[in-house]
Symmetry: C2
Subunit: 360 residues, 2 copies
Amino acid sequence: MGRVTLQTIADRVGVSRMTVSNAFSRPDQLSDDLRAKVLAAADDLGYVGPDPAARALARGSTGAVGMLLTDSLTEAFGDWVATTFLASVADHLAGAGLALTLLNPGGTHEIVPARDVAMDGVLVYVCGPESQDVAWLKRRRLPMVGVDQTPIDGVAHVNVDDRAGARASAQHLLELGHRRIGILTIGFDDQQGIVDNAAVKPYGFAGQQRLLGWSDALDEAGVTPTIALAPFRPAQAAYDSARQLLQLTERPTAVLCFSDVYASQVLRAAGDLGLQVPSDLSVIGFDDSPLAIQLQPQLTTVRQDIQGKAHAAVSLLTKVLKARQDGTEEPADHLLLPVELVVRASTGPAAKSKARVKAS
Amino acid sequence: MGRVTLQTIADRVGVSRMTVSNAFSRPDQLSDDLRAKVLAAADDLGYVGPDPAARALARGSTGAVGMLLTDSLTEAFGDWVATTFLASVADHLAGAGLALTLLNPGGTHEIVPARDVAMDGVLVYVCGPESQDVAWLKRRRLPMVGVDQTPIDGVAHVNVDDRAGARASAQHLLELGHRRIGILTIGFDDQQGIVDNAAVKPYGFAGQQRLLGWSDALDEAGVTPTIALAPFRPAQAAYDSARQLLQLTERPTAVLCFSDVYASQVLRAAGDLGLQVPSDLSVIGFDDSPLAIQLQPQLTTVRQDIQGKAHAAVSLLTKVLKARQDGTEEPADHLLLPVELVVRASTGPAAKSKARVKAS
DNA sequence: GCCAGGTACTGTACCGGTACAGAGTCATTT
DNA sequence: AAATGACTCTGTACCGGTACAGTACCTGGC
C-alpha cells in the first residue's frame, strides 16, 4: 500500500486530481455535494490533507517565517527583553496563521538554517550587518524585517528610540542636580570595568544608541561621565564593574545603566558598600522589565513597549510579504518606536554636601 | 530574467542538471575541477543554493522539527521551566542541524500549523492526549516525542519522575516531624483555594503525578494533608490560596508546593502573616529554578534537570527520525528522568510546642 | 588481450501538489 | 434562436529539486 495522494482519492471517487485538490484548497470551485463525497473518501483512505512540502513548492509559500537571533537560544532566552519579544512575535504571527521557525545562527555543520530552511520571510533580531546568516538571507531575497539592530540598506526595520530614551534619563539626572555621573553599559566579552571614554565601543546597536543619547544630554551640560563596561553575562561582571564605579574617589552620585538588570547589580553593589539609594546614589535602568518594580527601591527606568515592537515587526513583515506576493513595491520603512522615562524611587536629588566635600 | 535554477546553471556550464545538483549536494560525485566551475557559474548567476522547498519535496525532509505547546507562547514563556526547556531544545537541535518551528496550537483560521506546516518530526510539550493539534500530528504520522505529559500510546515520551520527587519531599517533611501538612498545587483556571481532598483534580500530568507522590508518603504515614489549589497565573492566585492555608485554625506546619514559584508565594504570605520560615513553617518547592536560591530563606526543593530533559527529548526524536528513514522499527520508549531532593533552609523540624498548643 | 572495478557524468522518472486556461452544461438575456 | 454568463469540472504544464540506474571511459591484474 503506497502513500495516499490526491490521485488515490481521485481514482476512488472517479474525478480528476484537480477536483480533489480544489475540495481541500478551494471549496468554492466545486459543488458542495461532490466536495463532501471527496472529503469522505479522503477521510476513509486516511488522507490528512495536502502535503505541506509539496504545497510549499507549488504555491511558493510555506506558512512559516523565520527568526534569526545572534546567540544561541539559551543565551537569548536568558534575556527578558528577547524572550518577551520572541513570545509576542509568535503570538502575533499565530494571528496571521504563520508559524515561527527559530534559525540557529552559524551552523558548524554543512547545514545552515538561514540558507537551507524553507520560509516565507524572516525577522532578524539584534544581528549585525556583518552576520553570515544575514548575508544568506539577503542572497535568498527573503522578505525581511530587522529589529533592534543597525539598519541594513534596503531592508525594513523596527527600532526603539533608544537614543531619545537615554537622553531623557540623563536629562532627568541633570535636573536633579547630578554632575558626577557614572555609566554602566554593555561591552564585548573582553571588556570589563572602567574604560577611557574615547575608547568606549558599546556592544550592539542599542548599546551604541543609548550611549549616544546619554552623551547628547551630558555633553550639552558639560558633564563628562565615567564609563564602565561589562559583558551581558555573567551578571556578576556587571556587579564587579558597578563596584568599581562606586569605589572611585570621586564617586558618582548617579549611575545610568544599559538595562534594568545592570541597574539591579548597581543596587546590589550599592547595598554592599553601605550606600543608600536614592539619597547617596541615584540609579536609572532601561527597559522597564518586571524587575524594575520588584527591586528595592523601585527603579526609575526607560520603558520600551516590547509587545508593540513585536506587533510592529510582524505587521511590517506581513506587509512586505503581501507586497512581494502582489508584485507591488515592498516597503523598506524604518520605524522608530517611542520610549518613556518612568520615574520611580531610585532617583533623587544629588547629595550636595557630600559632593562638595569630595570634590574640593 | 527568470529565476535561476539548476537548469540555468547547467546550460551555462554545459553539463547536465544532475551534475549541478551533485555539485551542491553530493560533492563526491564529480571531479573537483568541474565542481569548482559549476559553483563559480552558480555564484556568477546569483544562485543561492538548492531551493529548500523543492529539496524538501524531493528528499522528503525539511531540516526543521516542530514543537507544540499548549498555550500561547506568551503564556509559556512566563514559565521558567518551559522557557528553559525550549531554549535548550533549540540548542540541542542546532547540533543536529535542525531548526525549531513553534507551532501555535489551535489556529482559529483555516490554517492549522499542526496540519499545514512541513516538518520532519515534532516535540509535543505538556499537551493532553485530547488536543486537536496532537490528533493532526498523529494522523500525519509524524515522528513524535511527548514531553512532560500523559503518555500517548505508541508514542515515545520523556517524563520526569515527578512522583518520586514529590514522594521524597513529603517524606522529608515527615522525617522532620511534621504532621499537619498543607499542599499548594496547580488547579484549573476556575479552581482556587482550599478544596475537598476527594474532589482534587490537579491540572496537567505533572500536577497529577506530584499529588500522587505526596500522597504516597503521606498516606503511608496516616497523614491527611489540606490541599489548596491555584491556577498557574496570575501569581496572586497562589498567594491568596497560600494565605488561606496559613490562616486555618489548624495551621499547617509545612507546605508542599507545585513549583518554586508557588513556594515563593507561600513565603510571601508567611512573611505577611508574621510567620518565620522554617521555625514556624517549612516550605518545599519543585523544579529548583534560579528562584530557589534567590529566595530568603533559600528553598528546599526538588531538582529536575531541564537541560537533560531537553537533551533526552532531542536525542530520542532524532532516533525516531533515523529509524523512520532507515525503515527500522521506531522506538517508543518512555523515559523517566530522575529528580533529586535538594534540602536548603526553608525546611526544619516541626515546631512541637506550638503544634500541641493549637492542636489541644 | 580480456575482464573486473572505479570514477565521472547523464537520462529518466519521480516527489505531491497548484495555476490557469479550457470545455461542457444549463439558465437567462436580447 | 443565438448570445451571454455562471457554475462545475478537467487537462496540461509547471514548481525545483533528488534518486537511481545506466553509460562511457580509464586503470590495473593476470
